[in-house]
Amino acid sequence: MAKLKIEDLRKIKESKKGTLNLREGVYRAKVTVHMGTCGIAAGARTIMNTLITAIGENETDDVILTSSGCAGLCSQEPMMTVEVKDLSPVKYVYLDEEKTKKIFREHVIGGKPVAEYALSMGSETTY
């Protein structure tokens, strides 16, 4: 390892930002995948993996991903809730890989909710 210069310190700091944001609770958007037994059975794990990959590919470091239990609408699983700071939270239902990617692109990154997949808007904030 070569000796560090000031720029290198900043680079290391930058590369760790995602991890630290997660630990410090600093984030712009929070995505909750509902992973009750019903959710898992309906494929919530795939949704989670899709999101993990998407975050990795986009090199996003201000989005945190979390899981929660059953949201009470077992028939409409897999579900997730997207909370972008300063916007109403949105619940999405009947998800699959493609829908998830689209929601990630347009809502999580772009800040525009995808109305066609949404169940409701404006309920249950978790922050």
Binding site: L4, I6, L9, K16, L20, G36, T66
Partner: protein, 600 residues
């Protein structure tokens, strides 16, 4: 590492301070990693180790981010259920949540737990958030930015001015202004100077320095780099006791990583400034925490203090100008340089700025490592952070502050603000930060004896007042607790105290009588009960215990009879129990089981 960070959605931070490690936190970590792999979650969940979380009594601890859920008392056998419940199903594993003692309510979020929310972290700002063995974690939290600023943008005078204006005072016990100490040393003539870190923490019940070193070793190294630049030193030593193997291991790792990154060694960060830091293992003599003794010990000689002046700032290690600061002081320095003296000044009180780390132990619900701003009341520490006294029938009696050099502050002074001046007014000292809470079962004579036994053992023997004086005081205390106290004993103790304090060579002797003096000052009646009535009000001094049953209070239940292991109690149904004093072994079983306080 670059790749990993993108993928984890959850970070499980396992506490790996000495407290949790001794409860088996490494085993829990390994089990978690194994179970997470088994459930195919290893690309989603990161298991990381951190330094001491602070809530040592409830270890092994785990904090999960981003949720910020605090889990306590995790054991290896709990891991499969925990992983299934929390990571697979996304439910909080209730079994391991913190339960508030007052109302038995389980609190999931770490920030809602009084123990954590009532603290202010400056020195311990990285605790629980960084892995102390990964330098990049430290850098991510603005680590080494202050060193960079000091090395490339500030002159030594500017650094000293900043530290002086911050008003920080030595956290090792003395409370001497750090900026002033540096100024003396910077002004001393000579090219060769030394920068030292005192990690010879020896007070019974104190573990502040150990925890800082285990949780955030780089903060100490960074502080030393800044100090070295300020005084012009190029060689540093950390004097750490050999009893702290984990702290030593993490320091060694930290130094190696910093050297690899060029943050220690030659031409640090391209600034042209050189500094080498080495560890020196102390063998555990309490007196080696005294600065001149510590320096002799590094020189390979027997650790004994010498008279000052000359002060170490002029003639220290190998008779060359030296600055020695305590671990906690060093860990504060990067913050002062990075955020400025004004910010630091805004914390704490006018004459005691900043925060202080305390090791809170004894009869208190939340035992552990805490950091609070200077000037908060003892009451707030004991009740808000500490969660109060366990046991419904127990009452707070006193708080022992400052270890064997400190004193006992009685319940009546519980609103005393904790800062250097106010604590000294009570007769105790802030010291390095040991804080032992005592309830009404503690005998103050016994407490004074305990601390004096420690100083007698640890006195180096060089000067007579400390060597002989403390020994004599201990003899007197011994005889008081054995019921052989004489009427003049209290006066002799006070006379000896004054003499030892004024005539001893170093801080050890000068403060050794403090525990005795303060207990006499605030609990004189207790001493008098021992001496004149041959009675120990707290029921601690065995030789003075004589138990009897108060017939009016006795409900004739027979619990004491069943509890007595030496057949000293006679009881038949519906009669008052009687204790045979000759057979009684003072085991206190009957006293403890009696529900009606009828045994006295």
């Amino acid at each position: 590492m670059e790749k990993q960070r993108k993928t984890y959605h959850t970070n499980l931070m396992i506490c790996a301070g000495t407290g949790c490690v001794s409860c088996g936190s490494f085993g829990v970590r390994d089990a978690l990693i194994e179970e997470i792999e088994k459930q195919n979650l290893s690309h989603e969940v990161l298991v990381a180790t951190t330094g001491c979380n602070g809530f040592c009594a409830a270890g092994p601890l785990l904090v999960s981010y981003p949720d910020g859920v605090f889990y306590q008392k995790l054991q290896v056998e709990d891991v499969p259920f925990f992983v299934e419940e929390y990571l697979l199903k996304g439910r909080i594993a209730k079994k391991h949540l913190f339960v508030r003692p007052e109302d038995k309510e389980a609190i999931p979020a770490i920030n809602d737990i009084g123990f954590f929310s009532n603290q202010l972290l400056v020195t311990l700002r990285n605790r629980g958030l960084v892995d102390p063995e990964i330098i990049d974690d430290y850098i991510a939290r603005d680590g080494y930015m202050a060193a960079e600023k000091a090395l490339n943008e500030m002159t030594p005078e500017e650094i000293i001015r900043e530290v002086t204006e911050a008003g920080i005072r030595g956290r090792g016990g003395g409370g001497f202004p750090t900026g002033l100490k540096w100024k003396f040393c910077a002004g001393a003539s000579g090219d060769q100077k030394y920068i030292l870190c005192n990690a010879d923490e020896g007070d019974p019940g104190a573990f502040m320095d150990r925890s800082i070193l285990e949780a955030d070793p780089h903060a100490v190294l960074e502080g030393m780099i800044i100090g070295a630049k300020a005084i012009g030193a190029h060689q540093g030593y950390i004097y750490v006791r050999a009893e702290y193997p984990l702290a030593i291991e993490r320091l060694e790792t930290a130094i190696a990583q910093a050297e690899e990154y060029g943050l220690l060694g030659d031409d640090i960060l391209g600034s042209g400034f050189d500094l080498k830091i080495e560890l020196y293992h102390g063998a555990g003599a309490f007196v080696c925490g005294e600065e001149t003794a510590l320096m002799l010990s590094i020189q390979g000689q027997r650790g004994m203090p010498r008279p000052r002046p000359p002060f170490p700032a002029h003639k220290g290690l190998w008779n060359l100008p030296t600055v020695l600061n305590n671990v906690e002081t060093w860990a504060n320095i990067p913050q002062i340089i990075f955020r400025g003296s004004e910010w630091f000044n805004s914390l704490g009180t006018e004459k005691s700025t900043g925060t202080k780390v305390f090791a809170l132990t004894g009869c208190v619900n939340n035992i552990g490592l805490i950091e609070v701003p200077m000037g908060v009341s003892l009451r707030s520490i004991v009740y808000d952070v500490g969660g109060g006294i366990p046991g419904k029938r127990r009452k707070l009696k006193a708080v022992q502050v400052g270890g064997p050099s400190g004193g006992c502050i009685p319940e009546s002074l519980i609103d005393t603000p904790v800062d250097f001046e106010s604590i000294v007014k009570t007769g105790a000292i802030v010291g390095s930060g040991g804080m032992v809470v005592m309830d009404d079962t503690s005998c103050m004579v016994d407490v004074a004896k305990f601390f004096l036994e420690f100083t007698v053992e640890e006195s180096c023997g060089k000067c007579t007042p400390c060597r002989e004086g403390t020994q004599q005081m201990l003899h007197i205390l011994d005889r008081i607790t054995l019921g052989k106290g004489r009427p003049e004993d209290i006066d002799i103790l006070l006379k000896l105290s004054a003499m030892i304090k004024s005539a001893s060579l170093c801080g050890l002797g000068q403060t050794a009588p403090n525990p005795v003096e303060t207990t006499i000052k605030y609990f004189r009646a207790e001493y008098e009960a021992h001496i004149f009535e041959k009675r120990c009000p707290a029921k601690k001094c065995k030789a003075l215990l004589k138990f009897e049953v108060v017939p009016e209070l006795c409900k004739k239940c027979g619990l004491c009879f069943k509890a007595c292991p030496s057949n000293a109690i006679t009881w038949v149904k519906k009669t008052v129990a009687v204790i045979d004093v000759d057979k009684c072994t003072q085991c206190m079983n009957c006293y403890a089981v009696c529900k009606f306080d009828s045994i006295i």
